[in-house]
Every structure is written in C-alpha cells, then in structure tokens.
C-alpha cells in the first residue's frame, strides 16, 4: 500500500504546492514514486492527519497530532534539504 503524505501551509495553496512538488520530484528521482500526496491548510491538519503516514508543514502545526510532522521550509530556503529528505524517508520507511 502506498504511503500517504499530507503537505500543509497557512493557506493550503501557496507554499504547500511548491513543497509537495519539490518533495515528490526528489523522491521520484530516488526511485520512490509510489507515494500519494495531498495538501491542506495547517488549521486542517489536526483533523486530517490520522489518514496519513506523514505530515510535511511549512509552519507550526496547531492542535494535537499523532502523525509525525516534518518541517517543509528547507524546500523553500534550500537550507537543510538533505537532512529533511532523510528524515522524511525514515518516517516513510523508504
């Protein structure tokens, strides 16, 4: 069963789309293309996260969330991308 990643940002449109695309491209290049991505506003994460294996958010996430959360800002700034990708892969078991 493919792993599911929820990408979130403040508005649910701007930075989350970019982060989702960047992450999907990086993982695909490494041969991991069997992944499902979805996007939402950070305020929706608490209610949606349980159906996902990982949350990647560009902002702090409010509320109680059991699903692991990784910060997505490195994909915007270029700082710490490699370690973030490693962390993401670890959570997804890749």
């Amino acid at each position: 069963m493919s792993k599911k990643v929820l990408v979130a940002c403040g508005t649910g449109i701007c930075t989350s789309t970019t982060v989702k695309n960047k992450l999907a491209d990086i993982l695909k290049e490494e041969g991991h293309s069997d992944l499902a991505f979805d996007q939402c506003k950070v305020s929706e994460v608490a209610s949606k996260a349980s159906s996902f294996d990982l949350v990647v958010a560009t902002t702090d996430v409010p509320g109680k969330v059991e699903t692991p959360i990784v910060k997505g800002t490195p994909f915007l700034t270029g700082i710490g991308v490699d370690s973030t990708v490693e962390e993401i892969k670890k959570h997804l078991g890749l």
Partner: protein, 160 residues
C-alpha cells in the same frame, strides 16, 4: 520555465518596487506595500487587514543562505489582479519565522504577493524560491539602486 499563463511584466513592475526603504516596523512596512498595490488597483481595501492577520497567525519570514526574505500574502478573495510588491530594506526589519513562529528573523527583502489565480501560484512561487536559493542573484537584487534595476534583474532571471 514552461508556458507562462500570465504576463510577468504585469506582475513585476518598477512602480511596485521600493529600494533602500527605511521602515522601523513590520506593520508600517506592510502598510506601505499594501497601499501601493491598492493604489494601482491590484488589491481591495481590506487586503492590508488580511495581510496582517495572516502574518500574525502564519508568519512568512524565511532564513536563506544569503539574504533573509519574507513573503507576506493573503487569500485571493482580497485580490483583483495578480502582482508582486517588493521592498529592499535599508536596515533589517523583524518578522517572525515561518518555520518557527516564536523566533524572529531580520528580513532584508520583502516580496508581498497578491495572487488572483490559484493555478498560477505554484509556478510563481517556484520561481521565487529558485531566486531565494540563488546565492548570487538575491544579494545582487538587494544591492540594486533603483526600482528599474530590480525590475530588470528579476524579469531577466524569470524569462530564462
């Protein structure tokens, strides 16, 4: 870069670019940029309030490898037509960080985004992000001496 659905020349124009700006506070800076966008009818009257509210809840300060930036933006419902207003700051202005909202970052370039069509957002932000990650271009823009210079540099970069 792929096909452009919207004309970059209308999104980035010298009339919306401030250089060597001296603003002490984040809010007066955001007001200046919002007002300019409103004057040129890119955004509605309540755009500024939406910007402040969004910035307070989900700050947009980013630490890059070269020049720290912020990308304040609000929902499309407050926008008439897409545009970017830019301010090059003489002294850094403190914004909260996007990734850690309790922390501050001294921002030197603000890119205020007014985006109407959601479909174009991804491409535009992707372009901005490659600018933020370019160790040469961002400092070059920061050192520009006129709005025309900033406009030219950005349009040249984005065209390629």
């Amino acid at each position: 870069m792929g096909s452009q659905n919207f004309d970059l020349k209308n999104i980035i124009r010298k009339e919306l670019i401030f250089v060597n700006k001296n603003e002490k506070s984040r809010d007066t800076l955001l007001q200046t940029l919002s007002t300019r966008l409103e004057e040129y009818e890119y955004v509605k009257e309540d755009y500024y309030d939406a910007i402040i509210e969004r910035e307070n809840n989900f700050p947009t300060g980013l630490v890059t490898k070269s020049v720290n930036v912020a990308i304040p933006h609000a929902d499309a419902e407050y926008v008439n037509k897409s545009a970017i207003s830019i301010a090059l700051l003489a002294d850094p202005v403190e914004f909260k960080r996007m990734d850690e909202s309790s922390k501050d970052v001294g921002v030197e370039i603000v890119f205020m985004l007014a985006i109407k069509e959601k479909e174009n957002q991804a491409e535009l932000i992707k372009n901005l992000i490659s600018i933020f990650q370019d160790p040469v271009l961002l400092p070059e823009i920061k050192n520009s001496e006129s709005s025309e210079e900033v406009e030219e540099k950005l349009l040249n970069y984005l065209k390629n």
